[in-house]
Subunit: 304 residues, 2 copies
Amino acid sequence: MDLNHAYYFVHVVEKQGFSAAARTLGIPKSRISRQVKNLEASLGTRLLNRDSRHMSLTEAGEAYYRHAKRALDCMVAAETAVRRDKDALEGTVTLSCSVGVAQFALGRVLPRFLADNPRVILQIQASNDFSDLISDGIDLAIRGHFKLLPDSGLIHRRITEVPWHLFTSPSIAQQFGPLSSPADLDGLPGLALGWRPGGNSWSLQGPDGANASVPFATRMRSDDMVTLKQAATAGLGVVALPVYTCTEDVAAGRLSRLLPEWNAGSPEISLLMHGKRGNPPQVDALAAFLRRELPDIMNGVGGL
Amino acid sequence: MDLNHAYYFVHVVEKQGFSAAARTLGIPKSRISRQVKNLEASLGTRLLNRDSRHMSLTEAGEAYYRHAKRALDCMVAAETAVRRDKDALEGTVTLSCSVGVAQFALGRVLPRFLADNPRVILQIQASNDFSDLISDGIDLAIRGHFKLLPDSGLIHRRITEVPWHLFTSPSIAQQFGPLSSPADLDGLPGLALGWRPGGNSWSLQGPDGANASVPFATRMRSDDMVTLKQAATAGLGVVALPVYTCTEDVAAGRLSRLLPEWNAGSPEISLLMHGKRGNPPQVDALAAFLRRELPDIMNGVGGL
DNA sequence: GGATATCGTTCTAAATACAGAACGATGGTT
DNA sequence: AACCATCGTTCTGTATTTAGAACGATATCC
């Protein structure tokens, strides 16, 4: 069985001539003539009626062409499948970020990235306590910061600003009525982020560049945002959290925002990656994906 | 694009080894090794992981194999289609027979022959008046006869005997009650076959070699059996007809058989064809088909 | 009617693939 | 541990296919 006969034959049929097929394939017409002749000899029947000016398929030729065309299409698909497979992303990406970013931001976008790239493996270090911007073994880091990060030889890519708001349970909000200024927070218990002592006041920015600093009595503190959010939902006090971590709770009526015209800060979120050595393609692909998808989710503009 | 690479590769996969594939294909393993190596080189990726004892497909290899296997199946189908097409019957067969044979016998079997042989064309000369056994331009003839046909240089092939019975309408049968002998037909009007005057009596053969000749007063005559059958169904008289022309009418209760133990003759049906020159294959094929299918339909043994 | 362009087919020196031998590697047997 | 059988890969003199030229046939143009 010589399958290449079929290849030439199909081209002769589709180009309606040996010379045209030869030009298209960039080969001498003598080769095509020989191949088609050999094909007809091996089958013991004529596939083409032709002279120097006319050409038509025999019935046998039409039958053969239909099957052979399908075979060639399968072969093209075979090569395409291999080339696509060869160029597909694969390998591991190690990502470091806070628990909040992992659960409330990445959790909404990474499944899609992984679905599109089945041979990429993600390793996420989710922590509430980073001493390094990015340590060894980490490909990408997502960090929130108020000031410019120190020059570290890393590549910084800004993702977005993330506003923090004040939230509490609807029952407390109802009990104290609508607050009109930060001074109205006086006396309300606070839920503090961070497990070490300190951070007992809210730094607020309001309309027309106004600033306010409001101390609070800490009822509970934790470095885990979910724990603090659960406490606020239970009516234990007021908490300042990034807006994207509470979007669903506010929509569901489990939390209420206090002082809607005041922010409890607006830190910037950046993506950090190594730059001194070339990154594997899957790392670059994930970085591009996150910079494209995260802004709408984390700055509070995007909806559910 | 070299399709033969795929051919060897598919066999290697299915036989799980180069040596096994080479043995199956009856070619040296060096050729297969070279072909698969060239295939991997042209695709720029490995399809098989192998050493001298183990073999497994890579992911790319699995993808390529699925498509290539389908392509090879198409190529097998292409060759099969051409070989079947090459061996298929084609051409015209001209057949001569009576209208009754055409309508009541051939009509039940020829559709199947034509379905199996879509490139055979049938031309049927159906007539009630043949002066020749078989004239020029006719490939096959079906003729009924009582005596041996004259020696004509034609090939005779006996199909079967066809009994003729007496039929009339159920109303007449009821009116005269069950007849017990041919003498009881006296006074019943007859419907005669043939349009020329003559043939005004029934020649009957009964049990134990008994014979009887019963004259009848002819109410109507025709050379068309259907016309006579319609007249009998309408109660105009008694008619003698071949059993196979009335099978459905008797089953449906439109006709009744008279004197069930008596035949109105039992002529032989033969197939005539030219023998001096070789017949085209489609003529021989139809002759064999008719000799196989017609007996059960025409001798009254076969059912509906 | 003659000249020209293009077709498919055939021929032949040159290029390439091939069959079979030889090699290194692996696993089973003793 | 040594030996043997079988595997896939590589090498090379031989066999086959190839590219390009030449040919006969056909249709178009002048």
